[in-house]
């Protein structure tokens, strides 16, 4: 039995040594994202973006109290996300939540926030159900889910129109990563492309974490119906690997690669190197070079986080924008009151790094401007396609 006690002592020591942090009175914005696990990369990016927004707000003395970005780790696991949501609503100092990253976590967690109620602004979960569930008769609580990231339909159909009319493509191959985000983009692309009387030659789902797509790409290359390009719904790691292996197999220009904003990040150059050159990647919002606020964000992000060697991740600007939208609502509400902030969030009309954000009655952003950019490997930029 003694070893049980020795062990218990060791555990307690670990927890308490680590648990001693400063505990001053302040107002919290919860950042509920995956900070560890396979999605930790993207979650840490979101955390950095929100922390930066909070630091800026504190430096500019926008609020009469100290604002804190409180990080919570959901590990992109739905069960842990609901745990975290319960922890967040039990802390009265939390005014609003930025999260969750994946739709599988955002949907059940939103049900918990609704009971509090506390506003949840998602920077990355794109499954329509995240907001649509508020219209269900089973929804318990007020409408308090907002989303600064547009749902999949916007980007997918824009890319299809772009491919058909601007690039003159008629035969495309569809790939997606079997996540709500990737599959959603691909389904919308397919719908629009078929309506335009284009042809989808083949469709394949891959898994997140897969590295070897050579067999699949070889199949596409030798397809008798000669696809003219790939539309990929997914994130930059898989997009980068696809690009790299495409080029290794000799699938070069004019064979095109089109994808969405989940792939548009400098991380794609870390994965694909020069092979990323020429990839078409759509983004939501007006192009960075036409929007000074967006450029300012990119510059200050680089300045703030350069030392840690961390680059901008694909959803970071949504995280930053979510924070700004909440700050604006808090300012209008006049006090850090959860219910007042929800009411003010509904009236949001905020112009920032994404252009102008307003919400429809479900809480989805009405900012549906999509811009097509093209990766430029030499200087790691994404100039917009004019």
């Amino acid at each position: 039995m003694t070893s049980i006690f020795r062990f218990a002592a060791a555990v307690t020591a670990i927890v308490f040594v680590a648990a001693c942090g400063p505990k001053e009175k302040s107002v919290k914005i919860a950042v509920a994202v995956p900070l560890t696990g396979d999605m930790g990369t993207e979650g840490q990016g979101l955390r950095r973006a929100v922390e930066m927004a909070v630091e800026e707000a504190n430096a500019a003395k926008r609020f009469p109290y100290k604002l804190v970005a409180a990080p919570y780790d959901d590990r992109a696991d739905p069960k842990e996300a609901v745990n975290v949501a319960n922890l967040i609503i039990s802390d009265p100092r939390v005014v609003a939540v930025i999260g969750h990253y994946n739709s599988g976590s955002a949907i059940p967690a939103a049900k918990v926030y609704a009971r509090a109620p506390v506003a949840m602004v998602s920077p990355a979960a794109t499954n329509p159900e995240v907001t649509a569930q508020q219209n269900s008769k089973d929804w318990f609580g007020p409408r308090m889910v907002f989303r600064v990231v547009p749902t999949d339909d916007v980007q997918g159909s824009y890319a299809a129109t772009f491919a058909y009319t601007r690039l003159g493509l008629r035969r495309m191959t569809l790939l997606h990563d079997k996540t709500p985000y990737g599959q959603g983009l691909a389904e919308q692309f397919q719908k629009t492309f078929l309506r335009l009387s284009g042809k989808i030659v083949s469709e394949d789902g891959i898994s997140v974490g897969d590295k070897d797509f050579k067999a699949l790409l070889t199949k596409i290359k030798s397809d008798v119906s000669k696809p003219q390009g790939i539309y990929f719904g997914g994130l930059y790691t898989e997009a980068g690997l696809l690009l790299k292996q495409m080029r290794e197999l000799g699938l070069n220009d004019p064979f095109v690669f089109i994808s969405g904003d989940g792939a548009k990040t400098s991380g794609i150059f870390d994965v694909a190197g020069d092979s990323a050159d020429g990839a078409y990647l759509s983004i939501v919002g007006v192009p960075v070079e036409e929007l000074p606020s967006a450029k300012a964000f990119v510059d200050s992000y680089k300045k703030r986080w350069t030392g840690s060697g961390e680059e901008l991740k694909p959803f970071d600007h949504f995280g930053y924008e979510a924070a700004q939208v909440i700050f604006a609502a808090m300012e209008r509400a006049g006090s850090p009151d959860r219910v007042k902030v929800i009411a003010e969030l509904k009236k949001t009309k905020y112009t920032g790094v994404l252009g102008t954000t307003t919400f429809d009655d479900k809480g989805d952003t009405l900012n549906k401007i999509v811009t097509m950019t093209r990766a430029h490997a030499q200087d790691h930029t994404f100039p917009s396609v004019k």
Binding site: L175, G205, S207, D212, T218, L241, G250
Partner: protein, 299 residues
């Protein structure tokens, strides 16, 4: 297309085989699943990345630098594997069969999170050690990289075969694998042989990590898990504990995956389902794997 796919399958299979060897060597002696092997693979890749930045100053670029990077990363991965064995498995060796497995899972979590917290949370670009060229062969495009990977893997397998079959230490390893207690009575120090086995297994895992990084061009803290799990499956498919079986299993798995995603319409998303189904069928027909010896009933 067939030749192209064959090369794709062989490259993939070669990497799986190298990883599978690490599992099978350890299993052969201790009958334990070294769950942390996938992290050793990942650490091998990260060490190579670190060395790639340091080494050109010492060896210069080119083949000498490449081989130097390779050997040092392998040695490093081997040493990590030995340390893991010493501190996390050895105290449990005679106590329970499953305890080392749990300890291994813990080590695996620690190593992965350690890299995530202290090295990098994002994908890092893996340098291209040799300029990649395309060689057209019978209408297929084969990159020099694929050839390099295949060659390196085959050389390492050859060396392992020579070591196990032809050297005195290899004989001691085989003796321990047969019966560790009797081997101990014959004057072989089992602790030493076990450490050696972990070193070789780790080194092969490290080599696989470097090849993995070279092949896919970028590395990340969680890269080990998937190939680790698949290679373990491959080792079982071939007959766990059997060195030739691990190599065979690795190549078969590579071929299966390529067949599934390269020839079946919409096959990519069913690839792992197909691979695992084949595994189950094979094991039902041959319960000890393809090359595994039939285990005598314990009496």
């Amino acid at each position: 297309m067939l030749i192209q796919q064959l090369v794709n399958a062989l490259t993939l299979g070669a990497i799986y085989s190298l990883i599978a060897l690490g599992y099978t060597l350890v299993y052969g002696i201790l009958a334990m699943i070294n769950f942390a092997h996938s992290e050793v693979l990942m650490l091998g890749a990260f060490m190579a990345l670190g060395l790639a930045a340091l080494l050109p100053a010492i060896f210069g670029t080119g083949v000498v630098g490449l081989v130097g990077m390779f050997i040092l990363s392998m040695a490093g991965a081997g040493v990590i594997n030995v340390l893991v064995e010493r501190f996390a498995y050895r105290p449990l060796r005679h106590i329970s069969r499953l305890a080392p497995l749990i300890s291994a899972i813990g080590v695996s979590i620690i190593l992965q999170n350690g890299v995530f917290l202290w090295i990098s949370t994002q994908s890092l670009r893996f340098p291209e050690p040799v300029a990649i060229g395309q060689v057209p062969v019978f209408g297929a495009t084969i990159s020099t990289l694929q050839i390099t990977i295949l060659a390196a893997a085959l050389i390492l397998m050859g060396l392992l075969h020579f070591f196990v079959e032809r050297t005195k230490l290899g004989k001691a390893m085989r003796a321990c694998s047969d019966d560790i207690q009797t081997a101990g009575l014959m004057g072989i120090n089992p602790d030493y042989i076990i450490a050696l086995t972990f070193f070789i297994g780790g080194a092969l895992g490290g080599a696989a990590g470097v090849l993995y990084g070279m092949n896919y061009g970028s590395i990340k803290y969680n890269l080990g898990f998937l190939p680790g799990a698949k290679a373990f499956t491959a080792a079982v498919l071939g007959g766990i504990g059997n060195i030739r079986g691990a190599v065979l299993g690795g190549f078969i798995l590579g071929i299966l995956e390529v067949l599934a995603s390269g020839y079946i319409p919409n096959g990519a998303q069913w690839r792992d389902v197909i691979a695992f189904t084949v595994l189950i069928i094979v094991l039902l027909v041959r319960p000890s794997g393809l090359l595994g010896e039939k285990i005598a009933e314990k009496v």
